[in-house]
């Protein structure tokens, strides 16, 4: 293998690694954003359950 070919192979490998790294970075960012969504949804669900629970208590006269 000539030095030029070796450089081409290495360049391809580095480009592939950069692409993989970008994919991992995107995945991590998406996961973090979804975690924020989950926290918000659980909070919202808690508030809704609280309000509806209070409504049920009022309706039952408790």
């Amino acid at each position: 293998m000539t030095p030029g070919e070796e450089i081409a192979v290495l360049k391809a490998k580095v480009e592939s690694l950069i692409a993989d790294l970008k994919e991992v970075k995107d995945d991590t960012e998406s996961l973090k954003r979804f975690q924020s969504w989950l926290i918000g949804l659980w909070t919202g669900a808690g508030i809704i359950v609280g309000i509806i629970g209070n409504s049920i208590k009022t309706k039952l006269g408790l």
Binding site: S30, W37, G40
Partner: protein, 160 residues
């Protein structure tokens, strides 16, 4: 249609939107918004079983306001057309709530309110399903295209 039938159809539609958005792991906002809509829909069904309409719909305006603000915040931090369209639909929904609750109400006004509300909800579901449907469509097209090419390659040319 019966109330149970309506609940079944709307429930299936909301769950389908969540399901189709769950495929795309790179779009957490689509899954988040669809889960939020599912949660709100469940809360509305519970309230409908506790109270008779329109009293059962009093909380809907607040829930839609909060949901609209959340979608707007999601659009602000990561822009895309479907989020803006959904936020606009939430705004129209809030205006619909306001028009109904702030004006003198009658049977006719309630029916108009319900029709507009259901139409807006269906449009919201379509908007939120958009990214998931596009993703699944691309994946299916990507999986089918080599087979299609192979299949077309084997078909003898007509008229040659």
């Amino acid at each position: 249609m019966t109330a149970a039938g309506q609940i079944l159809i709307w429930g299936a539609a909301v769950c389908a939107v969540v399901g189709v958005n769950a495929f795309d792991r790179r779009n957490p906002d689509a899954l988040g918004v669809s889960l939020m809509i599912l949660m709100m829909w469940c809360a509305q069904i519970i309230l409908q079983s506790l109270y008779t309409p329109p009293a059962s719909m009093q909380l809907d305006s607040i829930m839609d306001l909060v949901a609209g603000l959340v979608v707007l915040a999601a659009w602000w931090t990561r822009r895309s057309a479907w989020k803006l369209a959904t936020a606009v639909l939430f705004l129209v929904m809030i205006l619909n709530h306001a028009a109904f609750w702030l004006s003198p109400r009658g049977e006719e006004a309630f029916l108009t309110y319900l029709k507009l509300r259901n139409s807006l909800f269906a449009l919201q579901l379509l908007c939120v399903a958009g990214p998931g449907v596009r993703y699944v469509g691309n994946r299916v097209a990507g999986a089918l295209s080599p087979r299609l090419r192979r299949h077309i390659g084997h078909v003898p040319h007509q008229g040659s």
